[in-house]
């Protein structure tokens, strides 16, 4: 019996050999299901086919699943990968494992969410989420014009523990809108009377609707809604529609630039959204690992900014933006 198992094991090992002979590059995302990561994986797969390398993908079971990502990195080390790109679920806890991989000679490029400290990876390709927030904040302010000083703003944030992306976008919006943010790395400590409430949407459409319903109970005269992402924005819209506030009296802004989101900009549901580029991130990372040369990174920023562009049908002076048509060409998900 034991012999049989060992035989089976060696056959398995042998059949895995050809893969080992190829160049293996990994891609580890936060989850398997989020369209942002699904598209990132598709971008990586296309690039891998073009470069003739083997792409090994893995993901955590849920957003925040550090253990799952640790296991994925260990598997890549064991597979003799040349390197990998990772979207860290926990930007602090994953650092020792990434160090282990780099010690083993793997190139590590972090995508989307920088590590803490950022230089624990070979390079970071990410969206500047604070800038993404500033773009929609400035757009909302300019669009309201004189009315901006009496705005009533509802924030639909991501989670109570304020992950990096959550406070960067929220505080970026405030900075762009002209609100004194106090501590720029934390929301909830401001005293600007225009802020009506912060609610938690978990970036989910159904919970986004519930959060907006509760916010409307507190702030019936809301006229600006900041949302952490486009599903939350779509949920907020349903809540506004139910009380007849879909008449243009409330402006929704968001971040992401997924195709459903950009179409919602076209339909007038979302006023403006900051678009980010996951396919580009993944494709660039694969190319950098494959060629061994990293793009030039501005040491003042610390990471390579893959860019964020404002998508809106109503551009305003002083805030650069692209049209809905351009946004649809670049959108993902």
């Amino acid at each position: 019996m034991l012999k049989k198992i060992m035989l089976a094991g060696s056959i398995l090992a042998l059949s895995a050999m050809p893969v080992l002979a190829d160049e293996v590059i990994g891609l580890i995302t936060k989850t398997e299901t989020n369209p942002f990561f699904v598209k990132m994986r598709e971008g990586a797969q296309a690039k891998a086919a073009e470069l003739g390398i083997t792409l090994q993908t893995a993901a955590g079971k849920y957003d925040g699943d550090n253990d799952g990502q640790v296991a994925a990195i260990e598997n890549l080390i064991a597979a003799g990968a040349k390197g990998f790109a990772i979207v860290p679920s926990d930007s602090k806890a994953i650092v020792p494992t990434i160090q282990k991989a780099r010690d083993a000679g793997l190139k590590v490029i972090v995508l989307d969410t920088p590590l803490d400290p950022m230089n624990a990876a070979d390079a970071t390709f990410a969206t500047d989420n604070r800038k993404a927030g500033q773009l929609i904040g400035a757009w909302a302010n300019k669009t309201l014009g004189d009315k901006a000083k009496d705005a009533k703003i509802v924030f639909l944030d991501l989670a109570t523990n304020q992950p990096t992306v959550d406070y960067l976008r929220d505080q970026g919006f405030m900075q762009g809108f002209g609100i004194d943010v106090k501590d720029p790395n934390k929301y909830g400590d401001e005293d600007d009377p225009r802020i009506c409430t912060h609610e938690i949407s978990q970036g989910d459409q159904e919970k986004g609707r519930t959060a907006m319903e509760n916010a409307l109970q507190k702030c019936p005269d809301v006229n600006v809604v900041y949302t952490i992402n486009e599903p939350a924005a779509a949920g907020a819209w349903e809540a506004l529609k139910a009380v007849g506030k879909d008449d243009g009296s409330v402006m929704i802004v968001s971040v992401d630039g997924g195709c459903p989101g950009v179409k919602n900009v076209e339909a007038g549901v979302i006023g403006a959204t900051s678009q980010q580029y996951p396919l580009k991130m993944a494709a660039m990372a694969l190319e950098a690992i494959h060629s061994g040369t990293l793009p030039e990174i501005d040491p003042a920023v610390g990471f390579f900014d893959t860019g964020a562009q404002l998508v809106t049908a109503k551009p305003v002076d002083g805030v650069p933006s692209i049209t809905v048509e351009e946004g649809l060409k670049l959108c993902w998900g």
Binding site: T160, Q205, E238
Partner: protein, 372 residues
């Protein structure tokens, strides 16, 4: 016989002088508690009602003016509808001493099948909708068959199928959202459950009644679907042989089998029916968010179990009710909405729901002591 009685008299004589009232209840000291326990044992559904009332009183004080309004109660009702329907499905399973971790996954898969088939693949909604219902039924059937045929614990089976249905969802949906506007164009029927009705307007228009107490209430067809589902399952559980078999199987499967009940058939029926109800929840979900979001409902399975437990249904099977589950879902909704309106952070909402669960199970255990 005589030996026995003589022996017991001798023993009693030995006890002479000891407290002879050991076996009787101390009416004066614990009478009230005992009576409460007996009352709750007879009417276990009254506990959730009491908790619901306490919640309403607390938040009327904590969030004055905002909480205690017909419109806010309408909102709570809309916010709990989906969990309440899943809770009805979950109640069926838990009554058989099982548990279904896959209800949320079945709901999302069914919503994706309905929505994507109709909107993306352009299949008429007359086919896409039944297909979605069938998908839910099939998922439930798979759960039931594995539980009975392979004799595996429902926890393990549905832990597995949760994962499987989740993977199928990603595969079929490609994680792509369907927007409300596209849904409206291609399959408005699927959004019907989200249609708003104002009972006051309805009655004044159709019957010319001026029922002032209905002013401010806003319902959706989804809430009515929820009530119909609950009514149907209540009828099945209380008025049909199948329903009695469900209770019997949950209470004591061996005794039920000896009494001639085909427990396997009962269980498969329960899981299939639960799957079907999850698909109805999918329809209500589409109405609520307008479109289809493959990302939604991540916590729906645990939320449904929470509603069932707080509603007084015993996790050990055989005891519980549909009305309790509806009230349980309402309690969670009232606490979440009330705490939010009082300005508390989400983490304290989670904290409160956790306390409610533990209190509910403690009370359940305490009542069970009387029956033991």
């Amino acid at each position: 016989m005589s030996d026995n009685s003589a022996g017991s008299t001798a023993a009693e004589r030995g006890l002479k002088g000891a407290d002879e009232t050991v076996a009787s209840f101390e009416e004066r000291d614990v009478g009230l508690v005992r009576r409460a326990q007996a009352f709750l044992h007879r009417f276990p559904t009254s506990i959730p009602f009491i908790v619901l009332l306490i919640g309403i009183v607390i938040f009327s004080i904590a969030a004055p003016g905002k909480f205690l309004a017909p419109f806010n109660f309408s909102l709570i009702l809309q916010q709990v509808t989906i969990i309440a329907i899943l809770g009805v499905a979950q109640t069926l399973i838990i009554l058989t001493a099982g548990i279904d971790l896959s209800v949320g996954a079945i709901m999302i898969l069914a919503s994706v099948v309905m929505g994507r088939t109709a909107v993306v693949y352009g299949v008429p909604v007359e086919i896409a909708f039944p297909l979605g219902l069938l998908c839910g039924l099939a998922c439930g059937l798979v759960n039931g068959i594995i539980v009975t045929m392979l004799r595996l614990p429902p926890f393990i089976v549905t832990l597995g199928t949760w994962s499987i249905f989740g993977a199928l969802n990603v595969w079929y949906s490609r994680s792509e959202t369907i927007r409300s506007q596209d849904m409206q164009e291609a399959a408005p029927f699927l959004q019907w459950t989200g249609t708003v009705i104002k009972p006051y307007d309805f009655f004044s228009r159709t019957l010319g009644l001026d029922w002032v107490f209905l002013k401010g209430w806003v319902l959706t067809y989804g809430s009515i679907v929820m009530l119909l589902v609950a009514l149907a399952v209540w009828y099945i559980l209380n008025k049909t042989a199948f329903g009695r078999h469900v209770y019997a199987t949950g209470d004591d499967p061996d005794a039920a089998r000896l009494a001639g009940i085909n427990t396997n058939k009962t269980l498969i029926g329960v899981y299939a029916l639960a799957g079907f109800i999850c698909a109805i929840a999918a329809w209500v979900l589409i109405g609520r968010i307008g479109g289809v979001s493959p990302q939604a409902g991540q916590t729906a399975n645990l939320d449904s179990i929470t509603a069932v437990v707080i509603g007084g249904t015993s996790l050990f099977g055989g005891r519980g009710s549909i009305i309790g589950t509806l009230v349980g879902a309402l309690i969670v909704g009232v606490f979440r909405n009330g705490l939010a309106l009082s300005g508390l952070e989400l983490l304290w909402q989670d904290f409160a729901v956790g306390v409610l669960i533990i209190v509910a199970v403690t009370i359940d255990q305490w009542i069970r002591k009387l029956s033991a």
